[in-house]
Structures are given as structure tokens and as C-alpha cells.
């Protein structure tokens, strides 16, 4: 422990993007330029997945009419997703999409919260691949539901041709609608989640490492308590961000599904 602190003190360096790259554990499988192997990020994904399963298993193992502690925690979480995400966005269709929305919300939350778990302090969502996969799931879902509801040509018309505009404007509107609804949506969904956790990791690293760096300086040491206090505040902020990003991802997915399935006015 003392040796580790001394090592950090000896070579302070500002955090860089290299902090997000982890080495392989054991052998790797190379396909072209892609290399598949087990590393710390994958391990965190599995750990988050196991805690996600455990949360629901222990919560709903023996469901009773008067819920116990774990059961009421799990149930209030599901009720939160149902009342704040599914019903306002999807109305009568909400029950069909509850499994998807609750899974997205809780899975993203459990993956995010590793950002502030002591000793880990790294979220798998700060690598773009994991948010991208979830954004692709959301993209496929809302497009498939739209095609099912309106038929293929009907859905294309529903997406690309907003009703009630003068005919001349469609030259401008159709490309804009295509770009915003089909191309930009999955990118913003994934980049929002990813960049939040990259930025959060940098903030925490800057303030905690900055505290240590100032302590080893001369008169700068008087500023170290302020840096440390800010770091503690940012840990609380990151817990808030973990919940907020899970909520925003789920509610935007619900809103995109609702928009794709909406009736023509």
C-alpha cells in the first residue's frame, strides 16, 4: 500500500486516453485486424452482468404479497421504469416493451456504477463498443416496430415525409429527416453514454491525482484539501450521472419506439 502510494507520488502524470486501454489476460483470438481476448473491460462487463442477475434473482426469488427488503427494492425499481419511462412514452403499448426498457435501464446502471466502486473506478461504458451495441439494439427495435406497424413503404413515408409542409420544402426536409432519424440517433445514443463516462473518469482522475501531486509540492499543499473536497463531490456527482444516463438511454429508446409506432395525424 505504502509502496503503491510512493510509486504514484514519484511519477505523477496527467490522465490520458491510454488509461482506457487494458492488456489481454491470457491468449487472444485474432481475426484480421480485430483481436478478441479477455481483459479488464470484459471482466467488468461480466461482473456487471452477474450483479444485474443477482439483483433480480435475490429480489424475486420468493415473491410474497408483503414484500421483504430486497423484493421491495427490486419492485420499486421496476415500478420506476414503468411509471416514469414506459407509460408516459408508450401508453397502452408499454407492457410489451417493459422487458427491453427495464433491461436497458438496470444493465446500463449496473455497468455505470463501477465508475465509483472503490478499487475498480472504471466503467465498461467508457469504451465505445458497449454503448454502441446497446444503441444498435434500440435502433433495430424502433425500426422493426415501425415497419411492423406501418409496412415498409408506410414506415419510410412516416419517417421521411413529415405531414403538413409545402411541397417545395420536401427537397430539404427528406434528407434532414433521414439523417436525424436514421443515422444520427444511434450515434448520439452511444456517444452520450460513452463520453459521459470518459469525461467522468478524467474528472475523478484529475482531482484525486491532483490532490496527491499538490501534497508532494511545497506551498501548493494548502490547496490539496480543496481538490480533495471537489473529488469527493464529484464521486457523488458520478453516482447521479450513472442513474441519469441509464434513465436517459431508456427514456430515449422508449420515445423513439413511440415515435416510430405513432399514428399519422
Amino acid at each position: 500500500m505504502i509502496a503503491a502510494v510512493a510509486a504514484v507520488l514519484a511519477q505523477f502524470h496527467p490522465p490520458t486516453t491510454k488509461d482506457f486501454v487494458w492488456d489481454c489476460w491470457g491468449p487472444s483470438l485474432n481475426l484480421g485486424s480485430l483481436s478478441f481476448c479477455m481483459n479488464f473491460t470484459n471482466f467488468l462487463v461480466l461482473l456487471g452482468f452477474v450483479s444485474f442477475i443477482a439483483f433480480f434473482y435475490f429480489g424475486l426469488r420468493k415473491p410474497s404479497v408483503v414484500p421483504g427488503k430486497m423484493q421491495s427494492l427490486t419492485e420499486s425499481g421496476i415500478q420506476f421504469v414503468r411509471e416514469n419511462i414506459a407509460i408516459p412514452m408508450l401508453g397502452p403499448d408499454s407492457a410489451r416493451f417493459m422487458p427491453l426498457l427495464a433491461t436497458l435501464f438496470f444493465a446500463i446502471f449496473f455497468w455505470n456504477i463501477f465508475e465509483v466502486v472503490p478499487g475498480v473506478n472504471f466503467s465498461s461504458n467508457s469504451r465505445i463498443a458497449f454503448p454502441l451495441v446497446m444503441a444498435v439494439v434500440a435502433w433495430v427495435t424502433y425500426n422493426v416496430m415501425g415497419v411492423k406497424k406501418h409496412g415498409f413503404l408506410g414506415y419510410v413515408k412516416h419517417v421521411l415525409v413529415p405531414p403538413g409542409a409545402p411541397a417545395v420544402l420536401y427537397v430539404l426536409l427528406v434528407p434532414i429527416e433521414f439523417i436525424t432519424q436514421i443515422i444520427i440517433r444511434p450515434i448520439t445514443l452511444s456517444v452520450r453514454l460513452w463520453a459521459n463516462f470518459v469525461a467522468g473518469h478524467f474528472l475523478l482522475a484529475v482531482f484525486f491525482l491532483g490532490t496527491i501531486a499538490m501534497l508532494q509540492g511545497g506551498f501548493e499543499a494548502i490547496f490539496a484539501p480543496f481538490s480533495f473536497a471537489m473529488a469527493i463531490v464529484l464521486v457523488g456527482f458520478e453516482i447521479f450521472v450513472s442513474g441519469l444516463q441509464a434513465f436517459i438511454f431508456a427514456i430515449l429508446t422508449a420515445s423513439y419506439i413511440g415515435g416510430a409506432m405513432a399514428e399519422e395525424h
Partner: protein
Amino acid sequence: MLALLAQLTGDLEGLATIGRGLVIGLAAIGPGIGLGVLIGKSVEAMARQPEYAGQVRATMFIGIGLIEALALFGIAFSFII
């Protein structure tokens, strides 16, 4: 302009670092104003109509998500520079 600066300083790496800082700072201006307007108006709406606070809050979070993405694009592009 950039070529001139590079000739003067002979240091493209340093210019790229300045560029990264500028991208993050400039990308935060617009979303900052937007978030201020959005959240301020939402609080006003919740104070006027407390019975619709839940709906206003849900819509506000969607708006926050959409606006915030712009600032985060700045952070993402600053890594690419």
C-alpha cells in the same frame, strides 16, 4: 493562420493541444446556454402547474439528453484531433 503559427512555433503537437482545449471550451458554450434556458423554463412550468411536474420532468430529461450530446461531441472530437 495555423500554418503561420506552426512556422513560428515549429511545434504542431503543441498547437493540437491548444486545439483540444479550444474544442472542449467552445463546444460547452452553446449547450450551457441551452441547458440554462431549458431547465429554467421547466422549473417555471413546474412551479406554475405542480400537478404536471412529472410530465414536465420527463420531457426535460429528454431535452437534457439531446442538448448534452452536443457538448459531448466536443469531448469526443477533442480526442480525434
